[in-house]
Amino acid sequence: MSSYLLRGVRPLGGEPTDLLLADGRISEIGCGLSATGAHVVDADGLIALPGLVDLHTHLREPGREDAETVETGTQAAALGGFTAVHAMANTSPVADTAGVVEQVWRLGQQYGHADVRPVGAVTVGIAGEQLAELGAMADCPAGVRVFSDDGHCVSDAVLMRRALEYVKAFDGVIAQHAQEPRLTEGAQMNEGEMSAVLGLGGWPAVAEEAIIARDCLLAAHVGSRLHVCHVSTAGSVELIRWAKSKGWDVTAEVTPHHLLLTDELVASYDPIYKVNPPLRTAADVEALRAGLADGTIDAVATDHAPHPDEAKDCEWAAAAMGMLGLQTALSVVQQVMVDTGLMSWAEVADRMSTRPARIGRVDGHGRALEVGAPANVTLIDPSASWTVEPHALASKSRNTPYRTMTLPGTVYATFLRGNATVLDGKLA
């Protein structure tokens, strides 16, 4: 196993020092380190973060290998600075059995670009009717801890209650896609000023907030852990702040696109901006940023959702929902949170590594950069910038809403247990 000496690196954006990665761990930290045989990286000006952990990734395999595979998705993850990703369950077949989650987990191990933590479906076929065998998925080698019907809401209150209770036996968490189904029938975009003008079916904020409020109350009632996927409205942030103030075990994530983009982009009718939950207003974006900064929102999660060209090259109503996110997440966070002074790099590490790893119970990830910790490290160059070119991304799909945008910050290297998965901005 090769070792790496990162010279002059700034851990969490702090004072420059040297970092030695050897035998899969951070073996030494200090100025003027030397190590024979180590690969020396001139890390002057680079920032070291604990390897990023994504709680919400659609890798599409099995079933939609035309859009993404575990291999291409984890390549994109590594290039985006991630060392672990949670693979969502809405594949075909659905990841609702130990067999499917184990297959996805093994594919992740086989390619080795990032650790793949499969998410198990809450209900059989994510149909919202019958609990899937959550315990079997938890006990299998994939060791599932996060369960979600993402793409669909577990809207039945009794089923949600039971799921929240049941996963306590193995320290699991239900990650809810909060979308009241009746309030969002035919919904195409955020309901408000823009939907009124554009004549597109409205997706009201209350459809998300009503479910979050209910689920927080349910989680409190049964003493369970709840994680809220991709919160997108100011009201959701308030509800989560309220639930946390009660001491309830509620966590939440926000996507990079909900931190940057607004529903005004829909005026183009370009489905590249069609996503679930929908892009909201500037006031929502502001509240999400504030919620992430003060820790109400625990994590940034990409909701990386690859789709083939034809799923977007059509009229709005016919298009698929979702956008790429793995390779642009850190840059978007730098632009909207760090460069604006809302968050430090230490806080970025907390929201993109430490807390998501804790929520997902991901061993070995999200650890502090200290001697003895597993060498899951991301090196970024915050002073560089890059222009997003869809064809240049590692993903099999090209549906990025940031195409042609110039974003700050590049990932220079990613180390997974001391092995470089990315070096000099390229797959190692």
């Binding site: 309901e191 554009l198 004549g199 409205g202 009718y269 034809e310």
Partner: protein, 316 residues
């Protein structure tokens, strides 16, 4: 103005007046023994209709033919469209046929925008009604009809009544009439007004009786019975009682005020037969005027490089 007519918001006041003035000139043609003009000879206009609308399609077809254009009707039914060909592939086919203009009616809001702005075709795109978004030529023919009956728009009060939420006619009319200087009031049950309507350049009321005596124009919109199944209102009878234009309400309107309806009507639901058939109803006239207005739009969009409608704007 722009190369395409996708929304009434695309039209400046001057653009709109030019279309109406041109339509007036073209309307005089209808009185001549030979109704055809050679203006668009050799140009191809495609009517691409994803929804059945004989009324709108034949109006556009007549307009294009009176300008001597070649007309291709590309209906969703009975073509590859119904077998699921994508909008993009259909557009590429039309481009290969050499379409100079594509008149599109689509059930999806924004489909004409996609046709115009995705680089699939080079021709002009005319929105002939898209989903619950807009129907700009309907608004133009309504404005044309109002001007003929009332003279000018300044300070005129137009009351639009009915299912505003799902109405492309209402959206286009609010935009255009505001541009032209009229004062628009929308009247509907609150369930049939979009969230966000407060930002529109118009007033909103739930009380039809309060608005009628102040109105120069009352435009009744079609209300579909099915809406009551989705709880937008309790029953057709109750809708009719609160928002229908019956004889009594008609009598409350000023003597000069006119009644409009984009058709097709639900007689007895939103409008009583005696009102629809009154001399102050412009419903049949609106159909006639539709041809003149659509001729003006096609003429101004297609007649030569220095299009009389205004400057061209490249779209990418």
């Amino acid at each position: 103005m722009k190369r395409h007519l996708l929304s009434a918001a695309d039209l400046s006041r001057d653009d709109a007046l030019l279309i109406l003035d041109t339509a007036e000139e073209l309307a005089r043609l209808a009185d001549r023994p030979i109704k055809k003009l050679p203006t668009l000879r050799g140009r191809t206009v495609v009517n691409l209709f994803y929804e059945d609308s004989t009324r709108t399609r034949t109006s556009f077809e007549a307009a294009a033919k009176r300008l001597s254009a070649d007309v291709i009707n590309f209906a969703a039914k009975g073509s590859s469209v119904s077998k699921g060909e994508s909008l993009k592939d259909t557009a590429l086919t039309l481009e290969a046929m050499g379409a100079d203009a594509v008149v599109v009616r689509h059930h999806a809001s924004g489909a004409p925008h996609r046709l115009a702005n995705s680089g699939w075709i080079r021709g002009s795109v005319v929105n002939a009604g898209d989903g619950t978004h807009e129907h700009p030529t309907q608004a133009l023919l309504d404005a044309f009809t109002m001007r003929r009956r009332l003279g000018s728009f300044d300070g005129r009060r137009v009351t639009i009544v009915g299912d505003i939420l799902h109405s492309r006619v209402a959206r286009s009319n609010v935009r255009l009439l505001h541009t032209l200087g009229a004062q628009v009031t929308l009247v509907a049950p609150p369930t049939l007004l979009p969230v966000g309507v407060a930002t529109w350049p118009c007033a909103v009321s739930y009380d039809l009786d309060a608005e009628l005596p102040k109105s120069d124009v009352v435009m009744m919109l079609r209300v579909q019975h099915e809406r009551m199944n989705a709880a937008f209102f309790p029953s057709a009878r109750e809708y009719s009682r609160r928002y229908g234009l019956d004889g009594l309400r008609f009598a409350a309107m000023p003597e000069h005020a006119i009644v409009m309806h984009p058709g097709p009507m639900n007689r007895g639901m939103e409008i009583a037969a005696e009102v629809a058939d009154s001399p102050r109803s412009t419903i049949v006239e609106q159909v006639t005027n539709g041809v003149s207005v659509r001729m003006a739009v096609l003429y101004l969009l297609l007649s030569g490089s220095e299009s009389a409608i205004g400057s061209t704007e490249e779209t990418s």
